[in-house]
Symmetry: C2
Amino acid sequence: MKSDDVSSGINRRALVSGLALLPAVSGALLSKTVQAQVTPSAPLKSWNDGPAKQAIIDFVRVTTDQGSPKFVPPEDRVATFDQDGTLWVEHPIYNQVVYCLDRVPRVVEQKPELKKIEPFKTVLTGNREAIAKLSLHELETILAATLTGMSVDTFEAEADKWLAVARHPRWNRLYTELVYQPMLEVQQYLRDNGYRTYIVTGGGQDFVRVYAQRVYGIPPEQVVGTAGGTKFGYDKDGKPFLTKEPKLLLNDDKAGKPEGIHLMIGRRPHAAFGNSDGDREMLEYTGAGDGARLMMLVLHDDAQREYAYGPARGLPDTKVGAFSQALDAEAKKNGWTVTSMKSDWKRIFSFD
Amino acid sequence: MKSDDVSSGINRRALVSGLALLPAVSGALLSKTVQAQVTPSAPLKSWNDGPAKQAIIDFVRVTTDQGSPKFVPPEDRVATFDQDGTLWVEHPIYNQVVYCLDRVPRVVEQKPELKKIEPFKTVLTGNREAIAKLSLHELETILAATLTGMSVDTFEAEADKWLAVARHPRWNRLYTELVYQPMLEVQQYLRDNGYRTYIVTGGGQDFVRVYAQRVYGIPPEQVVGTAGGTKFGYDKDGKPFLTKEPKLLLNDDKAGKPEGIHLMIGRRPHAAFGNSDGDREMLEYTGAGDGARLMMLVLHDDAQREYAYGPARGLPDTKVGAFSQALDAEAKKNGWTVTSMKSDWKRIFSFD
């Protein structure tokens, strides 16, 4: 068990206020009572009262109350979160794809022979319509060229620099500001109750690790993502370093999510959060476990404050982050909770 | 898992000598592994006073004292441990290879067509001399057949059953009892000082995860090992499960160790413990970081209480877990600590 497991399970402020209300009781009873009272004073404050908020609170209560038949020991408390569309904005295109496109001039600078080769040529024109028409294969070529072939340290420094300046066109804000405040509160609430929160994303593992700690409070070892191989070697001074290789180890999407969870965590989550067909298998895998499990999907039905897309429930079919009718039907059949951004969330972003 | 995955750790000659010592299949003697007792108040009590013990204590002091210029924040406190030969006995052959050979009858039961096919035919004869003559390729076939093709849950249950009864021929004790008491104390001492302890092993990740918590106090998510892919699917009732595939994702030996550390942890360790040439790159990678770093190698120089092998320092060259003269020279040059089992450890096992 990690050293911080115990402390992460206890919100100190809540503990202090909770203790003040307790009568003098035996040590054994005291520790039991405290464990049940670990909820912070105002969890989920950006959530409207309703079935989604209630599902989260009920799940935490039955899995952390030692008297509950569905009690989950602290070491088994694992919650997984998809990122794109679940924790931060994924429209109009995934932020990491923007990063890769933005990096093309730099890559071409270092390898001038690419300047006249597609798809780099098209990206360099800056013609958005033409770029939007690139094939999947061409996009993959760009991803490989911009995400691999450099040292892990160089990659991290470059991504960090980009994240400090690149802005989303709609809000003119840093991408890392466009995280959903209600989901940050869910993560904190779970951590306050002894859960370890993991990101399980189709995005690049190394990319997300660059900012996951400061943005979500999630350390690098709790970020599971699409991962490429690295190659160990030595620089000219004999100092060892790792180079990012264009070799796919884990495609952490759809069936790759439970596979990635097994590889990287080795435990079945008790709670899983997603928003699209890409998260279906992760929620199925989570739900196949015994006892209390929480499966939740975010439905983007708020064009005014964020975006509206489905195609479930008659929402526009925009491809990125599709929430299909089949997924909606499966959620209903399995008792998964569908959260409506429009009606369940008081605010979307911290700056709202 | 496929061919090269455990094969890099297997040496034919070692198998030849080791197989001759294989015990007959042990009886169904159930015995719980006894986790040795370690008290934080007296750290490293199985260690003799000397430079090795002092190096560990000094490292912990300078990295955990907030007034120290080499203070390491708790979130960065990561220590990695090789397993075979560093945490438990690896002679005469790796325990997991014994497991694979022991599993052959069961595999043949389920796939009777293998009964008359080599190398299964030879293993089934029980003829140790013949088994010892199997080629490396034949051994790889056995590993693939015994470690993959079943669900993750089935694999865990099978390994668990084996670990409860299989015994080491020399001590007639469960393999999980043959862990080094001084190393358990180092792990506990580091955890008591805010370090997260990881196993980084050439052995199978899924195999080691079965017992790492109860034997070492290390949870599954902190076990990094040679890992194969899994495949997500559904049983006839529509319940999802993962099948172990014969596809190698990570060969966690030599250069694969720092690569695996990056993949699974995403942080450079501050301390790394090994015992063989297979750990060289992990120690180099650890030592390439800033500030205080502890790199330590266990030298098996105690034939009486355990085994003696090198070939460094004139010790016998037995191949399994080779500690070469080149490694010894690099340790000296880089200031890595070499721990002598004979002179640094008061006792080897908890039952000594």
